[in-house]
Amino acid sequence: MAAHPKRLILVAALMVATGGLTASGSAGVQVSGTERPAPARIISLVPALTEMLFAIGAGPQVIAVSSYDNFPAEVKALPKVGALLDPDTERILSLRPDLVITYGSQGELESQFARAGIRTFSYRHGGVPIVLETLRALGAATGHAVEADRTAREIQAQLDDIRARVRGRARPRTLLVFDRQPQSLQQMYVSGGVGFLHEMLEIAGGSNVFADVRREAVQPSHELLIVRAPEIILEVRAAGLLAADDVRRERGVWSALGSVPAIRNGRILFLSGDYLVVPGPRVAQATAAFARALHPEAFR
């Protein structure tokens, strides 16, 4: 209802929705039906994968996207056909796709498409390796294997560069907040020790204070926040969810927990941008943003 990009919120919500179920190793990609000509009419219901399609050169084959898609700019002109919970099956069928990219929980939808003879590419969020694996699988499924492999290698190289820059530096104990009730420390969602946000944080040279909780999302109480005593609080939000005015106000909310080192030392950092919370081809860019926030001296 509020006017801000919905796409990333979807991602954040998905992380929560799949929390605890999707460990990084188990997340996977399944393509039904193989050994057929490259699809020419692709519909993507998953924003992260739409980004991947465009990144590997399959953009011209994409004919429709989910209602949460807004990156890259090309998708704005494409028809929107619903999303995770409300895919417009009729509309999708009427567009005569030959490949539909679905989220792993849309099993019913996938079997509907199977009955209609339409291939599906089913995906679930996982860790950073899943992003690269998915890129390559998507390349193979769309006739762009070479570009996909090149893109994956580039991302890998960028991530390796970030790792190298922060290597040997003290790893600050970091709380990574990706959602909470505005102006309050209630109903907070932070990254646990599983999933792409956690892995990005660790690559960026931070030590996740909730690394021991084997879930993607943790809802910490005030007590847990005090006890875990992070040295840095890193809040990430999709673009539009956090304006400059908000940041000043939202920073003040933390002052209730004065004993937490990050709060005493004023190390509450806010990052805002769509790319930060999408496990897509911009994952290295997002990881670099984390690393710059945690270790500015490593990027001088």
Partner: protein, 347 residues
Amino acid sequence: MTTSESALPRVAREHRPLRARLAVTLAGYGALALAVCLLAPLVGSTSISLARVFDRSIPFADNVDAQIFFVARLPRVLAGAMVGAALASAGVVLQALLRNPLATPFTLGVSAGSALGAMLAISLGATVTLGPLSSVLASFAGASLAAAIVYGLATRPGRAMSTSVLLLAGVTLNSFFSALILFVQYMADFSEVYLAVRWLMGDLDVGSLGPIAAALPLVLAAFAIFAILPSSLNLLSVGADTAAARGVDVARTQRLAFLSSALATSAAVSLAGPIGFVGIVVPHLVRLMVGADHRIVLPASALFGAAFLVACDLVARTLLAPIEIPVGIVTAVLGGPFFLWLLIRRG
């Protein structure tokens, strides 16, 4: 004349045992509530040292134990005690008013109205621009609106309230508001849906004494009215005609009962979300233990409700620590089987 003459000595005869029973019951339940409220802040996912908590030589900002005690635990325990007492008492009053053992503080649409208010505040972004208090105020406004509608429908000037209209209007309003809540959620963004769904599970981790202080006057006002109701409720729960024959101003008692329970429920739900089950299970548990006299049931339920919710919240925050279970889940999961066990044992 003969009835009042014969009734008088009976009341006088019962007077002393009642006083004694009341004293014993209040002492027992009071001790239980006090013990739980004193114990709860000392226990949590982390162990803290009481000596360190009250050590004035350490500045508050450096004193982790004191921060855990005063910022994290004490507000939770106080909120739990207040909400538990309010919901349990409202349950007792409404069960008597509606003469229906299934009545809960949420039967009259108050919680659904309150939830709708909070949902709107969250999904319209009011919590972003106006702060978290906006969801508390919106939720209280929603609760008051629901109560006003039900009250307006069931009340005719100078006549007793129609309890069946009250009940049906409440149930209908609940469904109506629930549909609106689903609509608001369906139209909202995912992130807001998540915050909203979480709100519906109940949360006592209020983080400061501010919200508790804001709700306190409402709860105190409700309890001030509760205090004058029990004798009339005893007669009212037998039947409106019987009560009227015994000199109870039925219309006035009903209105006071409705308004006070709506007030207590609104305040509780605005503070902590619609925590279910306390309002139905606590009154029945207490009745199974102390009998049906509202002069005893009402205060005992308030005390037991406080103890019950604080204990449930203790379980919620320690059982799976560092993962916390929403307290509304704990109240139902613990309260349900316990209640059934007591029911079968008594039966």
